[in-house]
């Protein structure tokens, strides 16, 4: 289940191991022929698997089955939500050009908005966040009320992938709906980890994906309220509500559904267990490296159970990553890669994290396979790695 026998895998926010039940359910389907769009017996059987899976997914996130559009994952869902909504809203009223979006979104949203701004006449409005990474609701209100008719949509993620901060999504939806503006939320990191109820939260569109909650890679969903105005991105057979085309991957959909069902059913106990482990990890690091900084919302319930984004001033995240990897502890730096080159995290930048902390940030993310032994193993090597990485210094400052 882990990448190599001795590995301590603390990168669940990147991808988490598949749940045994999901592997079993998906494996059972892999050997069976059937295109869910075919009309014969094999097709009908495949369709039944897909539709039962859709019902399971819908029930797990508080949606109706007809609201679940199956996609190839989080990036596709985000692209469809942002580009599809913008195009449809603009077509109905060409004043609607502003997209209000948090500055800490995942690149799947960020770059979609950027693309629309550069190629489709959109005007991107980046909503500021506080030092914990939470969207400024007053700023959102002010942007909307400045000219409600010009707003195409609002997109704010449910929980941040880098620092784990949970956004006030229901309040955002309520604010936008006062003016009839549709709201999208990227809940890729949230579903299966914190309670997510589509109907109750009030958003119009919600993205989530299989491989962040114990399902397979390459399958996800965009949950869209009935009547959501969405222009398709992928044209073809029109398999998903005429909004998304492409033959459905039945086995993957089945694995995704079972994983979602199990993750949501186990959420309460699992969230408590993982929170305790995460807190033990953070406290353990703090005890040995007192000047460590925890990025993101530190309050209970304010962040994802499995997320620990730690800042170590005076060293390079790259150095830490290497030293930990060499000892079998797998995690990621607090930066995104662009064209293979590590870039300072836009999330930490938006939160106002100072440069020395930016460079030396590390994201440790725990998940369903994480044990106390993993935490202890990480704590056994992390302080020495930090000391050594600090000895190696910050590349830009030496000499």
């Amino acid at each position: 289940m882990t990448s190599h026998p001795q590995a301590v895998y603390l990168d669940h926010a990147a991808t988490t191991p598949m749940l045994p039940a999901a592997i079993a359910a998906m494996s059972a389907e892999l050997g069976v022929v059937g295109n869910a769009s075919s009309l014969h017996t094999s097709g009908r059987r495949a369709r039944r698997v897909v539709e039962e899976s859709r019902e399971l997914i819908a029930a797990a996130v508080g949606a109706r089955p007809s609201e679940v559009v199956l996609t190839a994952g989080g990036t596709e869902s985000d692209n469809l939500a942002v580009k599809g909504t913008f195009a449809a809203r603009l077509e109905a009223d060409d004043r609607r050009r502003r997209i209000l979006v948090s500055a800490v979104e995942h690149h799947a949203v960020l770059d979609s908005v950027q693309w629309l701004a550069e190629h489709a006449g959109a005007q991107a409005v980046w909503l500021p966040v506080d030092r914990w990474g939470r969207v400024d609701l007053d700023a959102l209100r002010a942007e909307i009320e400045a000219d409600p008719a010009s707003v195409a949509m609002v997109s704010v993620m449910w929980a941040n992938n880098e620092v784990g901060t949970i956004q006030p999504v229901a309040q955002i939806a309520a604010l936008a709906h006062e003016h009839g503006i549709p709201v999208h939320t990227d809940a890729v990191q949230a579903v299966g980890h914190v309670p997510v109820d589509f109907a109750a939260c009030g958003v119009d569109l919600l993205t989530f994906t299989g491989h962040k909650l114990g399902g397979p890679l390459g399958v996800g969903a965009l949950v869209a309220v009935r009547g959501a105005a969405l222009t398709p991105l992928l044209h073809g057979g029109g398999q998903e509500r005429q909004v998304r085309s492409g033959t459905l991957d039945g086995p993957a959909v089945r694995g995704f559904a079972v994983a979602t069902d199990v993750a949501v059913a186990d959420l309460d106990t699992e969230a408590q267990r993982v929170t305790r482990l995460r807190d033990a990890l953070v406290e353990g690091v703090r005890a040995q490296v007192p000047d460590v900084v925890l990025h993101g919302d530190p309050t209970p319930g304010g962040r994802l159970p499995g997320n620990a984004n730690l800042g170590f001033t005076g060293c390079e995240g790259d150095s830490l990553l290497y030293l930990l990897d060499a000892q079998g502890v797998e995690c990621s730096t607090g930066s995104a890669c662009q064209a293979g080159v590590p870039q300072p995290s836009h999330v930490l930048l938006a939160m106002g994290v100072p440069d020395p902390e930016l460079r030396g940030s590390l994201r440790l993310s725990l998940g369903h396979s994480t044990t106390r032994a993993d935490v202890d193993a990480a704590l056994a090597v992390l302080p020495a790695a930090v000391a050594r990485a600090r000895g190696a210094g910050v590349a830009s400052r030496v000499g």
Partner: protein
């Protein structure tokens, strides 16, 4: 030993890393991100550090079965190599950025970091040999004279050489490509890189013009007579013949060359080829990987990466200053160039040329 192998994404550094793995060392590959905004794809044989190069390096590391990372040294590269390059041209000198990169980025920033992280040595794909000797490591020319890169390594100190590994020093380029093929490395047929890596299209003058703007000035002959004008002294280098834009032909009808550049008055001085012949070079920032010379020493002096070495006498003047008296004249030596000093094939040290004289 724990060895960090610098992997550019090219064939040389991939084979170098492979040889270190074969030697039984514990090897980790690293690709240096030297540009904060790298291009996605290479354009022809030029440029480096593109996303494609990082990918090629990663694939080579995969084939060798070694861990691989991309380390961001773009800020150091920008400050110590790119900005230095611009400042040198601005000051009327002709820098060698490869040498600067080896001195300050690869064998300082990278090597220091590697040592601090617990590595014993840094391996690169340079063509040069290091021979162990009782008094320390000795740097020699590569076995393949066509690929010899000892000139751009002439700035290294003995401490840096003690931590360096050049596994290709005994190799011939064609053999390296064949070896890459045999090892299943996809970069076996990748073209060599040339020119200045951070100027992707090879147009150094255009690149400098973007950064320094138009700085017009006069072109004069040796007698001070105005013979033309230019858009910026940075577009010229000593010994250059093409692109002088001189309207009036010389009195003797012979071609004229850039003889010197005076940055303060923005004057480019031109004259006949024989006026380029220099017999004495003065340099500063001397580095002696073979130890400080005790007195005037007979050496071979080389002033460019692929120039022929010339017999000379070098005298250390103290405070990093040297005087190099050449036994035969060398044509077209610009301030800013490095003069690397050899004893046979062995590198003794180097200095940066500050001044030249015909007598």
């Amino acid at each position: 030993m724990r060895v960090l192998a610098a992997m550019s994404g090219g064939v040389d550094s991939a084979v170098a890393a492979a040889r270190v793995v074969d030697a039984g060392h514990d090897v980790v590959g690293v690709h240096l991100a030297l540009s904060a905004q790298p291009a996605t794809l290479r354009t022809g044989a030029r440029g480096c550090c593109t996303a494609e190069d990082a990918h090629d390096a990663r694939r080579a590391a995969d084939v060798l079965g070694i861990p691989f990372y991309v380390w961001d040294l773009s800020q150091r590269f920008r400050e110590d190599v790119v900005e230095d390059f611009v400042a040198e041209y601005e000051a009327g000198r002709t820098p060698n950025p490869c040498l600067r990169c080896n001195e300050r980025v690869k064998f300082t920033a990278l090597l220091d970091r590697a040592v601090a992280l617990g590595f014993d040595a840094l391996a690169t794909g340079h063509y040069a040999r290091i021979e162990a000797a009782p008094d320390g490591p000795r740097l020699h020319r590569a076995a393949d004279p066509n690929k010899d890169q000892s000139y751009v390594l002439g700035v290294l100190t003995s401490d840096q050489l003690a931590r360096a590994m050049f596994p290709l020093g005994d190799a011939v380029k064609s053999d390296v490509r064949a070896e890459a093929h045999d090892r299943g490395l996809a970069v076996a047929d990748k073209p060599d890189s040339y020119d200045v890596c951070f100027i992707a299209d090879g147009d150094t003058r255009g690149w400098l013009e973007q950064r320094l703007g138009s700085r017009p000035g006069p072109v004069r002959d040796q007698d001070g007579a105005l013979v033309g004008s230019h858009g910026g002294t940075y577009g010229y280098t000593v010994g250059q013949r093409k692109g002088l834009r001189i309207g009036r032909p010389s009195s003797d009808g012979r071609p004229r060359y850039v003889l010197s550049i005076e940055p303060v008055s923005r004057t480019v001085v031109v004259g006949p080829a024989q006026a380029l012949d220099m017999r004495v070079l003065w340099g500063d920032r001397a580095r002696w990987c073979a130890g400080l010379p005790t007195g005037p020493t007979s050496v071979l002096a080389q002033v460019r990466a692929h120039a022929a070495p010339v017999p000379a006498r070098v005298d250390h003047l103290g405070d990093g200053q040297v005087e190099v008296r050449l036994d035969q004249p060398v044509r077209g030596v610009a301030a800013g160039q490095a003069v690397v000093l050899y004893d046979g094939t062995r590198v003794l040290g180097s200095a940066t040329v500050t001044r030249t004289s015909a007598i």
